[in-house]
């Protein structure tokens, strides 16, 4: 859901891959084929001579060194800055804005992403088959999209998990008065491996600490609003 430019990632890999493949193969071939070293010497010698001529033809006033070196340094600097930006841009795309309603005569309504995230997390917190719930919001195609990551216990039925989440999301829809697109990611992982399997007790088992597990019910929302520092 991040805005990482995956095409660019693959382009960089393809470009450097082809470059390394070609250089490596060429170096090995030159060393292996008997008459190749002489050819290489001839060719590379000519290139070196031509470069030296060019360097002496482009002197920097009075100092005697070529300004081509400075051009090289600038190119390197640009390359380093570009690559640095490329690295920093990986994994971006999350947003703290959920929605901006169209302004009316009386003002405009804005909803923070944290509201929806915490409402969903709280609504799903009491489920016995969930080990962890984490909601986040990303900018996708110019609109906000919620991502709900769920860690389940071993053996949890995917359909039951999905319908539980769907109920909570419908509750959120009801509260917001609009439907925000939602991606649900159901995962297991290390926590699920050590936590033991799903309880075979009553399906609607509730822990005493989370009396409200219904989807974003009014009481849940009230609790949420009181608890959240503004």
């Amino acid at each position: 859901m991040t805005s990482t430019n995956r095409g660019l990632n693959r382009l960089l890999l393809a470009f450097s891959g082809i470059l390394l493949l070609a250089t490596g193969t060429a170096a090995a071939l030159v060393a292996i084929i008997p008459e190749a070293p002489d050819r290489w010497r001839e060719f590379a010698g000519a290139v070196v001579t031509r470069t030296e001529v060019m360097l002496s033809a482009t002197p920097l006033a009075a100092s005697g060194v070529s300004w081509m070196w400075l051009v090289l340094l600038v190119v390197i600097a640009l390359l380093v800055v570009g690559l640095g930006r490329f690295i920093v841009r990986q994994g971006r795309g999350s947003t703290s804005h959920l929605l901006d309603a169209t302004p009316t005569d009386h003002g405009q309504t804005r909803v923070d992403a944290a509201f929806a995230e915490q409402a969903l997390e709280q609504a799903l917190a009491g489920q016995a088959e969930f080990l962890g719930v984490h909601a986040s919001t990303y900018r996708v195609n110019g609109a906000s999209m919620l991502r709900v990551g769920i860690t389940t216990r071993r053996g949890a039925a995917p359909l039951a998990v999905i319908s539980t989440v769907e109920k909570a999301v419908r509750g959120l829809d009801h509260t917001l008065g609009t439907e925000i697109p939602v991606l649900v990611q159901i995962g297991g992982g290390f926590r699920s491996r050590i936590a033991g399997p799903v309880r075979l007790g009553p399906a609607d088992y509730r822990t005493p600490h989370h009396p409200q597990t219904s989807p974003a019910s009014p009481s849940t929302r009230t609790t949420h609003l009181r608890r959240t520092p503004v």
């Binding site: 995956r6 070609a22 070196v48 039925a157 991606l183």
Partner: protein, 193 residues
């Protein structure tokens, strides 16, 4: 303007394929380090100081007229570099599937780790077979799942019924791509399993 279906398809495709960020960041870091080193050597040569390892001019001359030692070294190094290049090229071109399946409901786009599907399938099969959960081992691939059941000694398992239960469970979830279960019942049972 993109439709919700197009958006969900795009998001789910991104969730089921590797972004190749690790590889790309690694290569970018290597390039940065190499560039900074080259810049250092260039500056050192320009101000007339001794190089850290080899000044750019010396390096170019050494490469243009390779000594016998350098020539011998070029064979293993060249092969190593070419192999690394091949790995990078494959990483760039292969799809890089992550071990996940997707499905869509009327309201949600869902991506499920194969691990979760496997453990749910194991539980369904264990209940259908009447064996302990530990007696079922499931591996989920992209299009198939293998279910290994160890029966309890002395109790015959109903093969068709177990298959049916697994197929029904998977059909109900309607995963993309769909998974075909293959059932393997161990010849030797286990006592008290």
């Amino acid at each position: 303007m993109t439709t919700p279906a197009t958006r969900d398809r795009r998001v789910l495709r991104r969730e089921t394929h590797s972004p190749r960020s690790g590889f790309a960041i690694g290569i970018a870091l290597l390039l940065i380090v190499a560039s900074l080193y080259l810049a250092t050597e260039v500056v050192l040569q320009l101000i007339g100081r001794d190089p850290v390892l080899l000044s750019p001019t010396e390096a170019v001359h050494a490469a243009a007229a390779p000594s016998e030692v350098l020539r011998r070294l070029a064979i293993p190094t060249g092969i190593g570099v070419a192999l690394l290049g091949l790995v990078l090229l494959l990483a760039a071109l292969l799809p890089g599937h992550r071990m996940r399946h997707t499905l869509s409901t009327a309201r949600l786009a869902v991506v499920i780790d194969d691990e979760v599907i496997a453990s749910a399938l194991a539980r369904t099969t264990a209940i259908a077979a009447g064996v302990a959960p530990d007696a079922v081992r499931v591996t989920v691939g992209r299009r198939s799942a293998s279910i290994h059941v160890t029966p309890t000694s002395g109790i015959q398992l109903h093969r068709a019924r177990l298959s049916e239960a697994a197929v029904a469970a998977l059909d109900q979830i309607a995963l993309r791509p769909s998974i075909h279960p293959r059932l393997f019942i161990a010849a030797a049972g286990r006592v008290g399993a």
